[in-house]
């Protein structure tokens, strides 16, 4: 299990290799930071919120999203192809019967393009080790009390896919526009640790 890398041997080695590559003219100074900035640019929970709002108002889109998320999110102008290669996206939707929650128990895999950088708690060992064993208890600590009859599905991002949860549409939102609906959606809702 990996934790904090900032002062580790591997970090020092990476910095050393970076300096060597720059010294030999194979890498421009700051090029890696630039590539990382590029990768992060536009990554924000607002993207996940837009996808969610569209899924709430358009049942056809919701169906396409759950079947093949990579293709469906192009309909709202988003993509998982911002990195070196397109990452597979798996979207799961909450219902009255089933609540989904996402974790990466091995490290901190996360759909940065759709949700921005991950919150600190998502990377904590406490969350990663506990939510697979006792999701109901962990969600309660987040202030989310689920009815006993609601089944909980935990998704462990242990390989190459990235995950996003479509929360349930709140009651009494029939008159809201798609944009207003998107404003209701939180980052925690898209991970599954909040209702919306």
């Amino acid at each position: 299990m990996s934790a904090d890398h900032t002062s580790s041997v591997i970090s020092a080695r990476v910095r050393h290799v970076e300096a060597l590559l720059e010294g030999r003219g194979l890498l421009d100074e700051g090029e890696i930071d630039g590539r990382i900035d590029e990768f992060l640019a536009g990554g924000s929970p607002a993207n996940g919120a837009r996808i969610t709002a569209r899924a709430w108002v358009d049942p056809g889109f919701r169906e396409r999203l759950l079947a093949d998320a990579n293709t469906a999110i192009r309909e709202v102008g988003l993509s998982m192809a911002g990195g070196l290669q397109e990452q597979r996206l798996k979207v799961v939707a909450n219902t009255a019967e089933e609540h989904n929650v996402v974790v990466c128990t091995l490290c901190s895999c996360y759909p940065i393009a759709l949700l921005g950088p991950s919150p600190g708690w998502y990377k904590s060992e406490a969350y990663r080790s506990r939510v697979v064993r006792d999701p109901r208890g962990v969600l309660r600590e987040f202030g989310l009390e689920l009815p006993e009859r609601t089944r909980i599905s935990v998704w462990d991002a242990s390989a190459e896919s990235r995950y996003m949860v479509v929360p349930r549409r709140p009651e009494g939102t029939e008159d809201l526009s798609e944009e207003q609906l998107a404003a209701l959606v939180t980052r925690k809702g898209l991970i599954g640790t909040a209702a919306v």
Binding site: T105, R133, R136, R151, I152, S158, A159
Partner: protein, 92 residues
């Protein structure tokens, strides 16, 4: 050995390899059900060791929490390479 297919019951590898693996310890030697395919990728264990690895099928595998931890009524769906999985022969 039967070809892996959705709905099939599988057992995960029990070995604890030296170095990197993407089979989480809590899901080792456990029985789960194949839910759906999750792309085709070289085995992460090999890549971490600098070995050539040909792409293989990755699966979403669903486990009952009670089978993993001895308690709990939820499920945990883990994403696992085919190499980690052995089909369970169902009695005819």
């Amino acid at each position: 050995m039967a070809e892996l297919a959705p709905g099939m019951r599988v057992r995960t590898r029990t070995a604890d390899p030296e170095g990197h693996t993407r089979l989480p310890r809590y899901a080792r030697g456990a029985v789960g059900v194949l839910v759906e395919q999750a792309g085709v990728h070289p085995l992460a264990d090999d890549r971490a060791r600098g070995r050539a690895a040909s792409p293989q099928q990755v699966w979403h595998v669903r486990f009952a929490a009670a089978d993993l931890f001895g308690s709990g009524d939820h499920t945990v769906t883990v994403e696992l390479w085919a190499d980690y999985l052995t089909p369970i022969e169902e009695p005819a």
